[in-house]
C-alpha cells in the first residue's frame, strides 16, 4: 500500500526515522515548510526528502508552489516557518550564497548565462582561477573541458565557443556543468526541458541521469510528465501549496500523477 495516495499526510517514509534531525540518510529534508506572502499562503506544511544519487521530480500545476519551494531551498527567501535539514543537520542558510556554499546549485529557467562570453568564462563566472591576479585561462579551460567530458556533454565543439552561439540544450548543459564544477551535491533544475526540441530534451535528460549516477541529488521541476516518468527515480506532487504526495516512481502511474496534479488526490492506487 502506498503512502502516496493520502493527501496532506506526513511522509510514511520518515515515520519513526525522523525526529528533530530529519532523515539523516537524505541529502535534503524539509519539515513543515510554510511560506506566506501577506494573506496568501504559498506553501503549507511541506515535508520533502531529496536523496543523493537520485532524480526527484517536483510536479504540479501552475501556482502549486513549486517555484516558491525551490526558492526556499536555494535561499532566495526564508520560509515563514518550518525547518530545513542538510544531510541530517539543521540548515542555517539565509542567502543564495549560503546555499551555494553548502553545495546546493540552482539552475533557473533563464539559465543566467552571459551570451557574450565563452563557455569557459561562463562556467567560471564569479569563481575565476587566477595566477598573480591574472586570469589563469589555461587551467580554467582544462577543467571546463574535463567537466563537460565527465558529464558526457559531447555536442559542444570547443569550450571557447561564445555561449550566445549555442543551442538551448547546450546552454542548459553549460548551466548544469557550471553547477557541477563547483562541487554541487544537490542540483535543482527549474523546467530544464521547457523550451527544448526532442533531441535536446533527450540530451538534458541524459545529463540528469549522469548527475544522479555520480551521486549528486537532482531535484527537477517539470511540467512534462513524459520526461518525468522517463528520468525520475522519485516523484513529489504539489497541489495548491501543499505537498500532496511523494514517493518512488513505481508508486505512480501517468494517470494517478495527473489526478494528483489536478485534484490533489487520487482514487486509484498504483
Amino acid at each position: 500500500m502506498s503512502e502516496s495516495v493520502t493527501s496532506n499526510s506526513a511522509h510514511a517514509e520518515v515515520v519513526g526515522g525522523s525526529d528533530v534531525g530529519g532523515d539523516g540518510s537524505m541529502l535534503l529534508s524539509l519539515r513543515g515548510i510554510t511560506k506566506s506572502f501577506g494573506a496568501v499562503q504559498a506553501l503549507r506544511h511541506v515535508d520533502l526528502d531529496v536523496p543523493a544519487g537520485q532524480v526527484t521530480a517536483l510536479i504540479g500545476d501552475n501556482g502549486a508552489g513549486k517555484s516558491t519551494l525551490i526558492k526556499a531551498i536555494a535561499g532566495i527567501w526564508e520560509p515563514t516557518s518550518g525547518e530545513k535539514f542538510w544531510m541530517g543537520k539543521k540548515m542555517q542558510t539565509h542567502t543564495p550564497k549560503d546555499a551555494a556554499n553548502l553545495g546546493i546549485a540552482t539552475v533557473y529557467q533563464d539559465l543566467a548565462l552571459c551570451d557574450n562570453l565563452d563557455i569557459v568564462a561562463n562556467m567560471y563566472l564569479g569563481y575565476e582561477a587566477t595566477k598573480h591576479e591574472v586570469l589563469d585561462e589555461i587551467a580554467m579551460e582544462k577543467t571546463a573541458q574535463q567537466t563537460l567530458k565527465d558529464l558526457s556533454v559531447s555536442t559542444v565543439q570547443s569550450v571557447r565557443q561564445i555561449v550566445g552561439s549555442l543551442s538551448g540544450g547546450q546552454r542548459q548543459a553549460i548551466a548544469v556543468a557550471r553547477a557541477v564544477m563547483r562541487d554541487a551535491k544537490l542540483v535543482i533544475l527549474d523546467e530544464p526541458t521547457a523550451a527544448l526540441g526532442v533531441t535536446q530534451t533527450a540530451q538534458v535528460l541524459d545529463l540528469m541521469t549522469t548527475l544522479a549516477s555520480r551521486g549528486i541529488g537532482v531535484l527537477v521541476i517539470s511540467h512534462n510528465l513524459n520526461d518525468v516518468f522517463e528520468v525520475a527515480d522519485r516523484l513529489a506532487v504539489m497541489y495548491l501549496g501543499t505537498l500532496v504526495s511523494s514517493g518512488p516512481k513505481s508508486n505512480y502511474t501517468m494517470s494517478s500523477a495527473v489526478e494528483l496534479i489536478t485534484t490533489g488526490t487520487t482514487s486509484r492506487a498504483a
Binding site: 533563464d110 548565462l113 551570451d115 557574450n116 563566472l125 586570469l135 582544462k142 570547443s158 571557447r160 565557443q161
Partner: protein, 414 residues
C-alpha cells in the same frame, strides 16, 4: 599593439564569431572584429590621398595622429561605459574641465608642479564620474539623462571658471610638460627603439601564450595567424617610424614620433590587459552581457557600474590633458560641445556595441583614427564645415547600424 589588443580569450581557434564583422574577418583569425574596420580605414586613406596629395605627408600624418589622440582617449573612456550598456554624455566637458584645471594650476599665477596639477585634474574627473555612477546606481536613473544633465552642469562650471580665473582670458598652456604631450617628439633613435620594442614585446607575448597552450595540450590557432599579425604590426610600425622620422619642419628640422603615440599605445595596452586578463575586466563583460547572471554569480554589479563611470571620467580627464595641450590653452570660445559625440563615434565605429558586453580598447584606437582621418581629410579636400558634420553623422549612423545588425544576427542564432 596587437599583443595586448587580443583580449577575447574566446577569439582563438575556429569559434563561430557571431558579429557581422567577425564573419567577414573569419579568415584572418583572432582579432577579426577589427579587420573590416581596418579595411575601411585603408579605403578612406587611399580616397583622401587621391583627392589631396599632401594627405600622407609626414607633416599631415603627424598632425592627424595628434588630432586623433583626443578622439581615441575619449572613445576609450566611453568604452568603459558602453561595455556595461551605459553611456556618459558629459565626457566632452569633463575632458575640457581636466585640461583647464591642468592649464590653470600650472600657470605662473598658481605655479603648481605639473604632476600635482595633472593629479588634481584627473582626481576631479574621476570624482565627477563617481558622482554620475552613484546617481545612476542609487536612484536608478538612466545614465543618458544623468550625464546629459551633468554635461550642462560641467559646461556651466567650466565656462564660469574660465571667465573668472584670468578675467575672461581663458587658461593658456604654460607648462612644458603639458605642452609636450602633443607637441614634443621622441628623437628618431628613440622612435626606432620604441617601434622595435613594441614588435619584440608583441612577438614574445604571442609566442609565449601559444607555447603555454601547446604545452597544456589545448587547441591552438594555426601558427600562420601569429606570423600574419606580427608581419602586419611590423610593416605598420616601420612605415610609421619612417614617416615620423622624416623632417616635417619648414624652418627648423622637426622629426621623430610625437610623445602622444607611445603614451596612447601604453594606455591601450594597460586597459586591454585589465579587460582581457583580470577578473575586473571579465566582470565588466559579464555585467554588460547579462546583468542578472553577473549578479547571481556574486559580482557586486552596482559597484562595478560606479567603477565604470569613474574609469570613464578618469580616461576622459587624460584625454582632456592632450586636448588642451593641442589647443595651447582653453578659453570659453575654444570649448567644443560635439567632442563627446566624436568620442562615442570613435568607440562605435571601431566595433563597440551600444547594447553592452562587446568592445575592446583597440576599437576606439582605430575608430578615433578613422574619425581623425575623415575630419582631417575633409579639411584638406576643402569640404565645408557643415558638410563635415553630415559626413561624420552618416559614418556614425552606419556604424550603429552594423552594430544593431550584428546583434540581431546573434539573437537569431539561438
Amino acid at each position: 599593439m596587437s599583443a595586448t589588443s587580443d583580449p577575447a580569450p574566446a577569439a582563438t581557434e575556429n569559434s563561430p564569431r557571431t558579429s557581422l564583422s567577425g564573419r567577414v574577418g573569419g579568415l584572418i583569425g583572432s582579432d577579426v572584429g577589427i579587420v573590416p574596420v581596418l579595411i575601411a580605414l585603408v579605403v578612406l586613406i587611399i580616397y583622401f590621398q587621391v583627392r589631396s596629395s599632401v594627405f600622407l605627408s609626414a607633416d599631415n600624418v603627424t598632425n592627424l595622429f595628434i588630432q586623433a589622440v583626443g578622439f581615441i582617449l575619449l572613445g576609450m573612456a566611453e568604452v568603459w561605459l558602453l561595455l556595461l550598456g551605459e553611456i556618459d554624455l558629459s565626457l566632452g566637458w569633463v575632458a575640457g574641465m581636466s585640461g583647464s584645471i591642468a592649464a590653470i594650476y600650472t600657470n605662473v599665477k598658481f605655479g603648481w608642479p605639473w604632476w600635482l596639477a595633472f593629479l588634481a585634474a584627473l582626481a576631479f574627473c574621476t570624482a565627477i564620474g563617481a558622482l554620475w555612477g552613484v546617481l545612476v546606481v542609487r536612484l536608478k536613473l538612466p545614465s543618458i539623462i544623468v550625464t546629459l544633465a551633468g554635461s550642462f552642469i560641467v559646461e556651466g562650471l567650466l565656462l564660469y571658471i574660465l571667465d573668472h580665473v584670468f578675467n575672461g582670458g581663458g587658461a593658456p598652456v604654460q607648462s612644458n610638460v603639458l605642452s609636450n604631450l602633443t607637441n614634443g617628439d621622441l628623437t628618431p633613435t628613440f622612435t626606432w627603439i620604441f617601434v622595435i620594442a613594441v614588435i619584440v614585446i608583441s612577438a614574445t607575448v604571442l609566442i609565449v601564450r601559444e607555447r603555454a597552450r601547446r604545452k597544456a595540450v589545448l587547441v591552438v590557432a594555426p601558427f600562420y595567424r601569429i606570423v600574419v599579425k606580427l608581419a602586419a604590426l611590423s610593416v605598420m610600425g616601420i612605415v610609421l617610424a619612417l614617416l615620423f622620422n622624416s623632417n616635417r619642419g619648414s624652418f627648423i628640422p622637426i622629426e621623430g614620433m610625437p610623445f602622444a603615440v607611445p603614451l596612447i599605445i601604453g594606455i591601450v595596452a594597460i586597459y586591454s590587459f585589465i579587460l582581457s586578463r583580470t577578473k575586473f575586466g571579465r566582470y565588466m563583460y559579464a555585467i554588460g552581457g547579462n546583468t542578472e547572471a553577473a549578479r547571481r554569480a556574486g559580482i557586486p554589479v552596482n559597484r562595478y557600474r560606479v567603477y565604470a563611470f569613474m574609469l570613464g571620467g578618469f580616461t576622459a580627464g587624460v584625454g582632456g590633458l592632450f586636448y588642451v595641450s593641442r589647443l595651447g590653452g582653453y578659453s570659453s570660445s575654444s570649448t567644443d560641445s560635439t567632442l563627446v559625440l566624436y568620442a562615442v563615434a570613435a568607440a562605435v565605429i571601431g566595433g563597440t556595441s551600444l547594447y553592452g558586453g562587446r568592445g575592446k580598447m583597440i576599437y576606439p584606437l582605430v575608430g578615433g583614427i578613422i574619425v581623425a582621418v575623415i575630419y582631417n581629410g575633409l579639411v584638406l579636400t576643402q569640404v565645408s564645415a557643415p558638410m563635415e558634420f553630415v559626413v561624420i553623422g552618416v559614418v556614425l549612423l552606419g556604424a550603429v547600424t552594423v552594430d544593431s545588425l550584428a546583434r540581431r544576427s546573434q539573437s537569431l542564432l539561438k
